[in-house]
Homo-oligomer: 490 residues x 2
């Protein structure tokens, strides 16, 4: 069956869709959600059918394709493609099994992961997989198998030297330890290739923050060059195809803020395994308003991380840290980058909490290699001597220095309504206010915290200053802060 391509000039970012006229759909007995195999020359791709009721958008005999499909097929507007009916992928059966509470094996998880990676499953089908895994849970073997399947269906990078890595579970604004630990570890002579994420729900991800200083969307070849030169990198992982199924799973988890334990561990460990890390330090911040709320949950997660790591031949250390309040003074990409640089410069005004946590984690990583008895002393010396700053500047230079960003010029001090002690800071409220002010896309937006938990405040004293790049966003953030400041003063 031949159809002429109509370039719909839309990029959907999700599954591959092909639109046919309702007349053709009836003739071929095709329904919305059915699958067709579209071929052009030697290339072929499975698309999910959508139907156009009008003749204007997609006339009979035409096949409306979106950007991603045109790119993959190397086909252009008005060229002829062949379509064939195709059955549902085998993986639908496995998803159905998971929904019915059965345990999946490696082959089945590989099948599902492969189909997700290659966009052969619709959002509805992916959602059933996530829902089944979330409600019934994944057992240890399933998590290991899912991790392996995610690695298998993506790229793998290898670097010279002993490769170390770290990961912090999200939920604590300002937790930018990666940008301090990485230069310390590299300066000590080990390899540490950080592929970080951008913020999904937080005010800034490590990739967003590093981007204030250096380019982060690097090709695989460029990453290898940077690591060869400096033993380190801090780049955006999205640009390289490491465990690509993970990002596609996140898309369907996002609408309901699902964060299934098994998926979380598999996601983190697959990325570490894909860049051949040998020693991995996992940081689980625990607090009332973080992802992990209590010791029981934290300890369970710790156990799973260690077991999965062991099975995959990685040495994994897990620490449970204080997640009760934001870390550092700045919240938002540029403000966080300034905190990081202040620590690396040994600035006396640098946030002590960020410095301490980073040094503690760096020293644990150094000790994990077996080459340091007193990691703390070593890490401290590398930082104090200026070697870490020098290394950071090398990394920035190698990745490509950015032209400087500026802090938002629209500012507003949020003050305490009474005198007392800061008893609590709500990570979620701070995050909402920062995002309303424009983070993470407006690099210069965010909050600068003057007060942390335990600090004394006077009535009308400034708790934090809001920064925004437009008056509209400042006003929106101020309005939100008026409703809920995020501070409990007692």
């Amino acid at each position: 069956m031949r159809f002429l391509v109509k370039d719909m000039d839309i990029a959907t970012g999700s599954s591959f869709v092909a639109i046919i006229n309702h007349y053709d759909a009836e003739r071929l007995d095709l329904h919305v959600g059915d699958r067709i195999l579209v071929s052009y020359n030697s290339r072929q791709i499975t698309c999910i059918v959508d139907i156009s009721e009008s003749h204007k958008a997609v006339p009979p005999g035409k096949l409306g394709l979106f950007e991603e499909v045109l790119d993959k097929l190397h086909v252009r507007d008005k060229q002829a493609v062949k379509i064939e009916l195709t059955t549902k992928p085998e993986s639908i059966k496995h998803i159905r099994d998971k929904l019915d509470g059965r345990t999946l094996g490696y082959a089945e998880l590989l099948h599902i992961t492969d189909d997700i990676t290659n966009d052969r499953l619709s959002n509805i089908e992916k959602t059933y997989f996530i829902a089944g895994s979330y409600i019934h849970g994944l057992n240890l073997q399933e998590i290991i198998d899912l991790t392996k399947a995610m690695v298998q269906t993506g790229k793998r990078l290898k670097f010279p030297g002993l490769t170390l890595d770290k990961h912090s579970i999200g939920g604590v604004p300002g937790n930018r330890t990666t940008m301090i630990i990485t230069p310390i570890i590299a300066a000590a002579g080990f390899t540490i290739a950080k592929t970080s994420s951008r913020a999904i729900t937080s005010p800034a991800g490590t990739a967003d923050t590093m981007e204030c200083l250096a380019k982060v969307d690097l090709s695989e070849v460029k990453i290898k060059k940077v690591v060869k030169k400096t033993r380190a990198c801090i780049v955006h992982g999205g640009a390289v195809s490491l465990a690509p199924a993970d990002d596609k799973i996140i898309t369907v988890e996002h609408p309901l803020s699902i964060d299934a334990e098994g998926q979380l561990v598999a996601s983190v460990m697959a990325k570490k395994y894909s860049i051949s890390s040998k020693h991995v330090l996992i940081d689980i911040p625990m607090g009332k308003t973080t992802k992990v709320n209590n010791y029981k949950q934290a300890r369970k997660l710790k156990k799973i991380f260690k077991k999965v790591g062991k099975k995959l031949g990685m040495k994994v250390k897990v620490i449970i840290t204080d997640g009760s309040q934001p870390i550092g003074k700045g919240i938002g990409p540029l403000l966080e980058a300034e905190d990081v640089m202040a620590v690396l410069r040994n600035d006396p005004l640098a946030p002590a909490d960020l410095k301490e946590k980073s040094l503690m984690m760096a020293s644990l990583l150094l000790e994990m290699t077996g080459k340091y008895r007193n990691g703390k002393k070593a890490a401290w010396e590398i930082l104090e001597s200026g070697l870490a700053l020098k290394k950071m500047n090398q990394i920035i230079q190698a990745q490509g220095k950015q032209k400087p960003f500026e802090l938002g010029q629209y500012r507003y001090p949020v003050r305490s309504g009474k005198k007392g002690l800061v008893a609590e800071i709500d990570n979620l409220a701070i995050t909402r206010i920062a995002r309303m002010a424009g983070t993470p896309l407006d690099k210069g937006a965010g909050l600068y915290l003057n007060k942390h938990v335990g600090d004394k405040v006077l009535n009308r004293e400034t708790l934090y200053t809001l920064y925004a790049e437009s008056e509209f966003k400042l006003n929106s953030a101020v309005a939100l802060a008026r409703k809920s400041k995020g501070y409990v003063i007692r």
Copy 2:
């Protein structure tokens, strides 16, 4: 924030989508799946955001809208609309609760059902609701509440006289009892307004089959006229908005063939309640290859149906019937319509199984009214005397007679490979072959069964004849039948 409408000229059939340029998306911090409120004059509608990466499809400052949204807003290409950011609907929280295993109350289920009815939830969000309800199940009170919520968010129809109704759970090809029971009940003086469905996965639904004889897509006004005139109708329920949430739920159940017990009962009972039925007969066919496979499951379903009916003030009788093989001789819309008319005409060659089952069900319905001691005798007399046929012709006349359809001219006899007795017939295999031959859209396609379970067959004797409207479809069906005929001969 003002945008100019761009008519995308696409009908998606699912949730309301609005496409904006990636430049505007970044400026407004909007992501795929976020919600915006689009207003035009006094009308407004919540849309789910999609993002165009190119300037050609949706340039900055434009808002790409699909047919459904344009219609609801009464807005046209190039007119200006206002957009506002809006938060996720409250019902997302309730869906999250269900996913976490909590029980939902009436207000929460109404919230979800209302948002589904008004297309305020995305497919991903609807899928999480179905997955949660499927895995954790709905308890009796939740089923009752969901039924009420579905009724509440749809139309209700009232008819003069005592209204009876019946429903058969799907899964048995050829189970067209509705078209025989309805004229019998109406001829006996009761009201029976059947709003039936089209086939989703079966070879033919009652609506598809009735459409071979009469128009079935009738307006509410027309349905009322037909029922007033004949005391009955057999129409397509999709055209009237009875429990409209149900159809939108089915859309996301279909990809994984999910059929959650609670949803099933709520779906059936909401439709019965919406047309004010007083006495309802439910038929649960049980067999190896039907929806309900064993007595335990059947009895559980029976109990739920009865309890929900009682709570809603309906008298419900549930029968568990033989679902081990197809009913009647014809499978496919026109072939099934011919079986039905043969029974009504008292044709000696009419399929005895279809006749018997229909009479049994009609007699139970008559007895449920309390006005018949021997329903069987009454039903038999109405059929034998030709009154049922006369009534059916009245109904066909009132709904609007169709021009006759023709049986597919491409035919092929599928023969037995050995001598013996028919031990089993696989409903699923027969269904797949019929659909491959073109049912339900090709009215004249399908199978004519020469043999049922228990019949003797000689080697090379015809088990069934395939009918198709194109050579291509006949060949596809023959190829499938070669792989698996659907008959077990011993």
